[in-house]
């Protein structure tokens, strides 16, 4: 059995160690109180989101940052590559034949942002590169249906369809002459 003296010494050492380590922790945290830390350490790290002072606005996000999607409908050829590859099936594309054989009228191009997981596969396979990620990250809405963003040119009426078919035939007739 160790002698009483050594156990008392061990006890006092334990108390001393405890108090010393508690104080070192306190004095490590103290400089933050007076903003004396070096480098960018001293300033607050958290930011109040709506305040304009927030440093992380959309423009200084990195270039590859994947935000909400945007499709430039003029360049979009309606090839539906993005619709096939999307894992969560949130892109719906519907085409109509345009006035000329080569032109396609993309009637409906909806992206359901509430189901999109921002994986970026659709942007990767888009040949005309019309579908891109913007830097916009504020995707809050009151109803999930408001999150369905549509880029389509709009559905066409049956009369327009017959009219365009007539124009196409006329053009083909001209070329065959």
């Amino acid at each position: 059995m160790e002698s009483v003296f050594t156990s008392v010494l061990k006890y006092l050492r334990e108390v001393y160690l405890g108090v010393k380590s508690i104080l070192t922790s306190c004095f490590t945290a103290l400089p933050y109180l007076f903003n004396r830390r070096s480098g960018d350490l001293h300033k607050e790290v958290t930011e109040q989101y709506p305040d304009p002072v927030s440093s992380r606005t959309a423009d200084d996000l990195p270039s590859r940052s994947r935000g909400l999607l945007f499709n430039d409908i003029d360049r979009c050829t309606g090839c539906k590559a993005c619709e096939e590859i999307c894992p969560t099936k949130c892109i719906t594309v519907e085409n109509e034949l345009g006035t000329e054989a080569s032109k396609v009228w993309v009637a409906v191009f909806d992206i359901d942002m509430s189901r999109c997981m921002f994986c970026g596969l659709c942007v990767e396979v888009c040949i005309p590169q019309s579908l891109v990620h913007t830097k916009e990250y504020e995707g809050a809405a009151y109803y999930p249906r408001d999150l369905v963003i549509s880029f389509g040119r709009g559905r066409i009426t049956p009369e327009q369809r017959t009219k365009w078919a007539a124009i196409r035939q006329a053009k083909e007739a001209e070329e065959t002459l």
């Binding site: 108390v15 508690i22 922790s25 306190c26 490590t28 945290a29 103290l30 933050y32 109180l33 350490l41 300033k43 607050e44 790290v45 958290t46 930011e47 109040q48």
Partner: protein
């Protein structure tokens, strides 16, 4: 006028004929509404601001200048969350419990040379009776919730109260030895206004007694660094786990009040209570009324209490918590021996040094 109310004569605020109970009631009301409530509000704000700074956060900055009225906003938010006023015995029982937990100690508070509500020979010991009632009230509130976290919280508060009481009392006796009596006015008189004459720095054993007194107060009342009964990670708030709305705000006020009470008594006993330098007291006495003198003394006292409370919050924020059984082990195996050592040391010091 009863002897233990003699200190109020200086305060010639009350007309001659008012009965004693009216004077006592008005003083208690004044203390509650003009010292504790604003103190609670300001200290809650300061605590959140200091913790935010320590943790590289911004902290409250929405309400009022730099978030000064944040506690007011919290209070209003909590009050309007009240489901509906449920009358009946359970509500009455809870309110009774809570008043027991919160207001049992207002009568004991020493707040200045003329503001001593109870100034008997044993008034310093009343503190323990009051603090134990505070702990008992908190425990019953925990058990009253009928939920397992509440039950565990209540039992832990009870075990801590037992463990913290002994070293606190011994620590206080050291002060009484030096001051010659346990009367608040005597204790205050034994200390001068400049720190050299405070009890803390009068001899090394008093210094140890001060820290033992403060630490065991934290154990006794479960104040932030040693709050086993209210620990968040495992029993999500313990005693306060199922409180909401009005009850939660009252409970928070109760927690703050316990903290304020203990650090205020620590200041009175160890850190030169409300003593002002002589030329200041003479100047105020000559030129203005005793109430002004009392106000200045109260201000000095509250500033020192605030510093002690911020010191404790600083330790609490920078360190992890220890388990409830480790807290009680610390109280029995570390604080108690230290307090006895301080007691013996003070007596030897007084006999050896003073002659």
């Amino acid at each position: 006028m009863k002897p233990w109310m003699s200190a109020w004569d200086g305060l010639d605020v009350f007309p001659a004929g008012t009965p004693e109970w009216a004077v006592a009631a008005s003083i208690v009301g004044f203390v509650y509404f003009f010292v504790i409530m604003p103190g609670a509000g300001f200290m809650a704000f300061l605590d959140r601001k200091i913790s935010a700074d320590l943790q590289a956060r911004i902290g409250p900055n929405r309400v009022g200048l730099a978030g000064l009225f944040q506690p007011l906003a919290d209070l209003l938010k909590l009050l309007q969350k009240e489901k509906r006023i449920v009358s009946g015995w359970r509500e009455a029982f809870w309110l009774g419990l809570h008043t027991m937990a919160l207001y049992s100690t207002v009568a004991v508070l020493p707040l200045g040379s003329m503001f001593l509500l109870v100034d008997t020979d044993m008034s310093a010991f009343m503190l323990f009776w009051a603090a134990l009632i505070l702990a008992l009230g908190t425990m019953l509130m925990g058990l009253n919730q009928g939920s397992i976290p509440g039950w565990f919280g209540g039992i832990r508060v009870a075990s801590q109260a037992l463990a913290g009481a002994f070293p606190a009392m011994i620590g206080m006796i050291c002060v009484g030895l030096r001051a010659g009596s346990f009367r608040w006015s005597a204790v205050a008189a034994a200390q001068g206004s400049s720190p050299l004459h405070w009890t803390v720095f009068s001899d090394p054993f008093q210094f140890i007694a001060f820290f033992v007194f403060l630490a065991s107060g934290m154990v006794l009342l479960g104040i932030s660094p040693l709050d086993g009964g209210l620990s968040v990670p495992d029993i999500h708030g313990g005693v306060s786990s199922h409180l909401y709305g009005r009850r939660l705000s009252l409970f928070r006020l109760g927690r703050f009040y316990g903290f304020f009470l203990w650090s205020e008594i620590a200041v009175v006993l160890f850190m030169g209570a409300w003593n002002l330098p002589l030329f200041v007291t003479d100047a105020i006495r000559n030129y203005s009324t005793p109430v002004a003198l009392e106000a200045v003394e109260l201000l000095v006292l509250l500033v020192k209490t605030g510093l002690v409370m911020l010191g404790v919050t600083w330790v609490a924020r920078a360190n992890p918590r220890i388990r409830a059984d480790q807290i009680t082990d610390m109280a029995w195996k570390v604080l108690s021996p230290l307090s006895l050592m301080a007691l013996i040391g003070t007596t030897v010091w007084m006999i050896w040094v003073n002659h």
